[in-house]
């Protein structure tokens, strides 16, 4: 790369001349790359957005044996944080590409074997590897959890490491840079004033205050000022990082607490208890699905009634985008289907079952839908078949159902007959009745204590990010020296190369210059300002306190 190389004005004369023989904006890593402006020793203060790049690990020399300190250093290293973020991105990308299954699939040996066989058809020999690495359930895999943990640790370490420096830099900014700083800083300007230094200083101070700068006089030098704006901007990143932790916590809370269950409600049927000891029951009094002429679904609406101790506490038409919210619970339209009301009486004539049986499955030939209900205490179950929607070859007359009594243990069919609604089917001592067909609506019952934290963290994250990006700290140092009968105002600042920063700097220089362009001066002194997007010498070119006044 043969990008223009320019010896930076800010380069100390002692620096070897071969410095940035690399593309600008890619500072070399060696020590030659540190012609930090006006540095009188290692930087130890947070220098605005620019951070303290080079001093991640090296600067804080760990006393030998301090194991935890070492670990801490690893975590607050920006490179480690960066690599963690990238590694997480790669893992998550895999999760988007590879077919994912529920963690519960892996709990059930047969389901797992079935799933893996299916995957083998798709991924062939890779299946074993993908499985071994947990990549079929990336988001509950060990690797994923470890990386998220590392990220969280890294954020905590970064923040705790940075915060004291940030605070110190905010409370006690360096106000007394060395003289060289004014010659070497990335941004420099010079203005001549006809007023004597003390007057010029007062004028400049007034101007800065008017422009909402915080002005801190240099204790050691009457005619030296430090001025900053948005000095607190750096705390934006602290809040951003903390709010990301809040979001992570929200995920943990959501995953480990709360209610997440789907309930099939017979429309117009009995109420169903929901939640764990919530005391709430829900019932659906109505369900409607609307379709376009082309058969595209347009709307699903269930009318839900929530009751507590038999008293209605909430009711609403629930649609896909309009859940019912009550008492920390949300009730969502989830699915719909058919049920069969089944009544079974035992040998003593008592009802064993009297309920709506959801027809949740479809027969393998696709002609009929099936539901099943166990007869408590008998080891028997009843399967109910209705013709599948639109199917005419199920052999079941419209309006009829097929009932099958089976032995649950052996799967042996004891009896299987087509019945009309309301007509009891006698099988031994049992009487089975298909009462009627009934619509059911699937309702997702949710209670998610993590959600609140999720929204809180998100709002905070976005806000903090915007503050960070919109309120970049600006720090300027000014020194006013006598020049003849007047004064010279020198202004300097060190920050990342940034044209917006430079524009603000130049603007301020121009304003100061105007301050001294009296009406009788025909050629107002223009500020001489230099600054350039140079090969970055070192991001943290914070001026150091000069050791002597």
């Amino acid at each position: 790369m043969t990008a223009p190389i320019r010896l930076d004005d800010a380069t100390p004369a002692s620096t070897p001349a071969n410095i940035p023989a690399v593309p600008p904006a890619v500072p070399p890593a060696g020590p030659a790359a540190s012609p930090a402006a006006g540095l009188v020793g290692p930087a130890n203060a947070e220098g605005g957005p620019g951070g303290h790049g080079a001093h991640d690990i090296e600067a804080a020399d760990a006393p030998p044996g301090e194991f935890f300190r070492r670990i801490y250093q690893v975590f607050y290293s920006k490179t480690v944080g960066l690599i963690t973020i990238l590694a997480l991105a790669v893992l998550i990308l895999i999760g988007a590409l590879v077919v994912q299954t529920d963690a519960s699939t892996y709990d059930d040996a047969t389901a797992k074997a079935e799933f893996l066989a299916e995957m083998r058809a798709k991924y062939g020999g890779w299946t074993t590897l993908l499985n071994a690495l947990g990549l079929f359930h990336v988001f509950s895999s060990i690797g994923f959890l470890v990386l998220v943990g590392l990220l969280a640790a890294s954020i905590v370490a970064c923040t705790t490491h940075r915060l004291p420096r940030l605070w110190e830099g905010f409370r006690h900014p360096k106000t007394h840079p060395s003289d060289q700083f004014f010659d070497r800083a990335r941004y420099q300007a010079q203005v001549t004033a006809t007023e004597p230094p003390s007057v010029a200083t007062a004028d400049v101070t007034n101007l800065l205050s008017r422009l909402h700068y915080r002005v801190v006089p240099d204790g050691a030098n009457q005619q030296s000022l430090y001025a900053d704006r948005f000095a607190w901007g750096g705390f934006g990143t602290v809040v951003a990082h903390l709010s990301f932790l809040v979001i992570l916590a929200a995920f943990v809370i959501s995953a480990s607490t709360g209610v997440d269950e789907v309930r099939s409600l017979p429309v117009g049927g009995a109420a169903v208890a929901v939640g764990h000891d919530s005391g709430l029951e829900i019932a659906a009094t109505n369900f409607e699905a609307t379709y376009s002429d082309a058969g595209q679904p347009l709307d699903y609406v269930s009318h839900l009634v929530v009751t507590r101790d038999g008293v209605t506490v909430a009711e609403q038409d629930v649609r896909v985008n309009e859940p019912l919210r009550y008492g920390g619970y949300k009730f969502h339209q989830n699915s719909y289907g058919l049920a069969a009301d089944i009544k079974v009486t035992g040998p003593d004539g008592a009802a064993l079952v009297d309920q709506s049986v959801p027809l949740q499955w479809t027969t393998t030939d696709g002609t009929a839908i099936v539901g099943t209900v166990e007869l408590p205490g008998t080891g028997l179950a009843v399967d109910v078949f209705l013709p599948a929607s639109g199917s005419t070859d199920s052999g079941i007359e419209p309006g009829n159902a097929v009932l099958r009594l089976v032995q649950t243990e052996t799967g042996e069919t004891l009896q299987m007959s087509q019945v009309q609604p309301g007509q009891p089917l006698a099988v031994g001592d049992y009487s089975l009745t298909f009462v009627r067909e009934r619509q059911i609506t699937g309702v997702l019952v949710r209670r998610d204590p993590g959600a609140l934290w999720m929204w809180l963290g998100s709002i905070l994250l976005v806000a903090a990010m915007c503050v960070t990006f919109a309120c970049r700290p600006r720090r300027y140092w000014l020194r006013i020296t006598p020049a003849g009968t007047g004064a010279t105002v020198r202004m300097a600042s060190s920050d990342k190369a940034d044209s917006a920063y430079q524009r603000h700097f130049n603007q301020l220089a121009a304003q100061i210059s105007q301050l001294f362009a009296g009406p009788d001066t025909d050629s107002g002194p223009a500020p001489k300002s230099t600054s350039a997007l140079e090969p970055e010498p070192e991001p943290d070119s914070e001026p150091q306190e000069a050791t002597h006044a």
Partner: protein, 326 residues
């Protein structure tokens, strides 16, 4: 009210042609630059230290009719916002005005088309891939125009306009029909906001991609003289816009999912891909504060970030999920 389907037949090819012409014009302008631009003398307190290269590279930016982003000397110029092509470059200055004008017209045409379409359908442009592809182009053109206007960096057009052109072509090949919304999509406000932020984010991301691509090819494309520092800065600025927008987009998506599906995050492939994108842009921002990651590596992250956006966008071709509509 014009029929959006009919409008699409005219507007999109017209926009495509305009974008193509603007692209060609910009390539001509950018590679016609010579080192003949008036050199600038840089005065520093320590004396004038100016090398020929430095003057050229400043001029290269200025040749765009731009106030140089760097190397300013003397009081800052009044922000002009208008083209001030230097003498002797009138021809390319005029061409520049045309190129920008064409992009602007293409942008207006697409805006009108989207407006008519939204009025006809009664919802934001999120119901199908066609609508979203056109919106994507809209976002890219908007971001590009803002960058050209604010930062005067015409060079990024070389990478940005081809993307816009390809997406326009893609949109033209898709079914532009208006279908009723499936129930899950019937949440106008949240979805419009969600998609709106996506479009803005993707547009900004495309610009940062453009800047990064140029940053990477710049050493090899000698005639295209754009200062690497400027490209780096524009890439960063665009990413700084992209990242919060992406964040808002994802949060709004989560809010919608929470309303429609009952949980704010379900690792559906599309949202997963969006998270990957977000992490890459986050990584980019951190790359700039991590030692050894500035410059080329950071530029590569921007390229990868935009690739991730395209992946998330075209994702439904790779994966099925709740998002299978748009």
């Amino acid at each position: 009210m014009p029929d959006p389907l009919e409008l699409a037949e005219y507007v999109l090819p017209a926009a495509l042609i305009l974008i193509a012409i603007a692209l060609v014009a910009n390539i001509v302008i950018l590679s016609a630059r010579r080192a003949t631009a008036p050199g600038k003398v840089k005065v520093g307190p320590a004396g004038a230290v100016t090398t020929a290269e430095a003057a050229n590279s400043d001029a290269a930016l200025a040749a765009d009719g731009a106030e140089p982003a760097a190397g300013v000397e003397g009081p800052p110029r009044a922000p002009s916002g208008t083209k001030t092509a230097s003498r002797g470059r009138r021809a390319s200055g005029g061409l520049a005005a045309y190129a920008t004008g064409f992009v602007l017209i293409a942008f207006v045409l697409i805006t009108v088309y989207l407006g008519v379409r939204m009025a006809a359908t009664g919802h934001g442009p999120f119901a199908n891939q066609h609508e979203f592809a056109v919106s994507f182009v809209w976002g890219i053109l908007l971001a590009y125009l803002v960058v050209e206007w604010k930062l005067k960096l015409r060079a990024v057009s070389v990478a940005v306009l081809p993307v816009a052109a390809c997406l326009t072509l893609y949109a033209m090949r898709l079914d532009a029909g208006v279908d009723p919304l499936v129930p899950a999509l019937q949440n106008n406000l949240l979805l419009t906001l969600h998609v709106g932020f996506a479009i803005l984010a993707y547009g900004a991301a495309c610009v940062s991609f453009g800047a990064a691509v140029l940053y990477l090819v710049q050493p090899r494309w000698r005639r295209l003289k754009a200062r690497p520092e400027t490209l780096d800065e524009v890439g960063y600025k665009a990413a700084v816009v992209t990242f919060p927008l992406l964040t808002i987009m994802i949060v709004l998506g989560a809010l919608w999912a929470d309303t429609a599906w009952g949980s704010y995050w379900s690792w559906d492939p599309k949202e997963t891909a969006a998270l990957v994108t977000w992490l890459i842009y986050g990584a980019f921002l951190h790359a700039r504060v991590a030692r050894g990651w500035r410059g080329k590596r950071a530029a590569w992250l921007l390229v990868i970030g935009f690739a991730a956006i395209l992946f998330a966008y075209f994702g439904n071709h790779f994966f099925g999920g709740l998002h299978s509509y748009a």
